[in-house]
Symmetry: C2
């Protein structure tokens, strides 16, 4: 499939089925297994991905027929989107495709969860991400920096967007990077911290690209970071709260997630580094007064994270153990304890100058 | 206070206290009461606002002293922000201001809820919104359309931002509208619908400004809509899901909210109209197959909303009763049932052409 574009992959899927029918065989689709039993941690690539377990979905099989029909419905729908050059969301796709089959009481889909699953089956079957099939993820996040992109015929200069910034869409497949004058990408969890750094023109003074995720990084943001890293060699530093949720945000940007293991190769950025806020930072930067007491749920989550293969580094072990021992966490905003511009004038420049990152 | 700028208002607050001290009086601040007992529905203005009940907060009074101290701490902090030309968030302000008073075990603030409340007390006392004191709200939302603004020295053309759009900041006080070529503002609840209209260049074909709120409209969005309506006379049409939550989103944009009644005059847009999705639209546009069954909580909320004075219009009564009778609701995305571009090619043009709005 390597060299086929999305439309060709959909056509290949259809042609293969026609061939089976013409040969008098039971039409079927080979679909990689998506359950956790087939998710593999690929240490050399630094990514989660799907293993090679495959399942077959047959048309003439009472247990398969409904899902077979659903898979072909979403494939046909995706083909239409590509033909018409139109994008849509999973929710709209569900409404578009939900109907009662003629002369029956059978609905194509009962719930959106069914059409969502059918799209993921299609993604893994033809080995691409649904963004490439014009199914957009929800939009979230903001970008600023010395970057000029081309998108839908517009040239957009991320350094000239005032206090706002560029609103990152859910689908960044068609964006072209025209000019980049930056040494790295700084990914920031909290909007308040993004706003602080943006007002202080941190991206200008330190020649970087600033990306605000507003919590967990949305799919469009992860794909954007991936593309800037892969296509333009941009180093990526992730700056979150000092808590297990922040570590998780980082790990999803870096190695992908179990749920979307099939998409990690296109969404993950294995070269990303964790800048902070580390647990040690709380003590190194005199933030003891701004500590939040860790709850049981935090400690439980920290213990789980410590066991993940991708957190098996002595630096992470030390940090997580320090958190468990002192039962503390802290937010990015805690740096305001020192003074409001401490984060942009002292903390970040020092961490980056000293390359004080976790792997 | 009418003609005083924010810094002068803060100085006036301090000078009044110094005068009281010099006169040998117990220093105090007059603060409008904020509870629901003092929230008034102003029918002629079409806004919620605070009534004229006042409270006095004394320095020498064991029940008042702590809050008195907190009010002055946030006033002094706001003065510094204005002096330094720096903005921040409520969370960072809390971290900045939280400390143990010298020679005591008394903290300035125990929880952020205390500093948040102190900022609101300050807002109502000097009759401005905290945005004017450089305390930013969380950022959310996206704008597109034939609008050129000036912000932090940049000229930003909302019509040239590709599939992204302009990321609306939490504070829009300093934005200048340079050029506007649009007939109205279309405010859209769902990102997916915003993306649909944006891809179809709805704002270009129908000469409007498109604002996506991503759910409940954030403060920055509401202030932006207010300013475009007030300063530029832009009509505002709000397009949400057909459910009580959508109606509430609309009412907050229009008349304000109980919690922020003191800020309604600066955040609300009484001239806003509700475009849809109405309950009647479900039937008028053949969306019966895309109905969602209303839950008990929806019906309960609908009955509450029907009693609000600002929903006392026969058109609203008819809509809410239809919802209660048929126990139905529907999402904006349900319009995709007809076809993906039905919303941009048929539904919205018809509704706007016929001025089929609810008050």
């Amino acid at each position: 499939m390597e060299k086929l574009d999305p439309k060709q992959r959909l056509e290949r899927l259809g042609e293969d089925l026609i061939r089976l029918i013409q040969e008098g065989q039971n039409p079927h689709i080979r679909i990689p297994v998506r359950g956790s039993s087939n998710v593999i941690w690929d240490q050399s690539a630094g990514l989660l991905h799907l293993g090679d377990k495959m399942s077959k979905r047959y048309f003439i099989n009472v247990a398969h027929a409904r899902k077979f029909m659903q898979t072909l419905l979403v494939a046909s729908f995706a083909k239409q989107l590509l033909d018409e050059g139109i994008h849509t969301s999973l929710r709209e796709a569900y409404y578009s495709l939900k109907r009662t089959l003629p002369n029956s009481k059978e609905n194509t889909f009962e719930e959106q969860s069914e059409s969502d699953a059918a799209f993921v089956d299609l993604e893994v079957t033809i080995d691409l991400i649904r963004d490439q099939l014009h199914i957009n993820a929800d939009r979230r996040g903001t970008a600023a920096g010395n970057v000029i992109i081309e998108d839908r015929g517009d040239e957009i200069d991320w350094s000239r967007l005032g206090s706002g910034g560029w609103s990152i869409p859910g689908n960044v497949e068609d964006i072209k990077f025209k000019e980049i004058d930056a040494d790295y990408i700084l990914v920031v969890e909290k909007n308040a911290t993004f706003d602080r750094l943006h007002e202080d023109k941190f991206w200008k003074k330190h020649n970087c690209i600033l990306i605000g995720t507003q919590g967990q990084a949305a799919r469009g943001i992860r794909r954007l970071i991936h593309r800037l890293n892969r296509e333009k060699g941009m180093p990526v530093y992730v700056f979150t709260d000092s808590d297990p949720y922040g570590w998780y945000i980082y790990s999803v940007i870096k190695i992908g997630s179990m749920n979307l293991a099939h998409a990690s190769a296109k969404l993950g950025t294995p070269q990303a580094k964790f800048l902070g806020l580390t647990v040690s930072d709380i003590y190194n930067y005199g933030l003891e007064d701004a500590i939040i007491r860790a709850k049981d749920v935090d400690l439980k989550r920290a213990k789980e994270i410590m066991k993940y293969p991708w957190f098996q580094h002595k630096e992470w072990e030390k940090e997580i153990k320090l958190m468990l021992k002192n039962k503390v966490k802290a937010e990015q905003e805690a740096l305001a304890k020192r003074h409001l511009r401490f984060v942009s004038e002292t903390y970040l420049p020092e961490k980056i100058e000293n390359r004080s990152f976790l792997p």
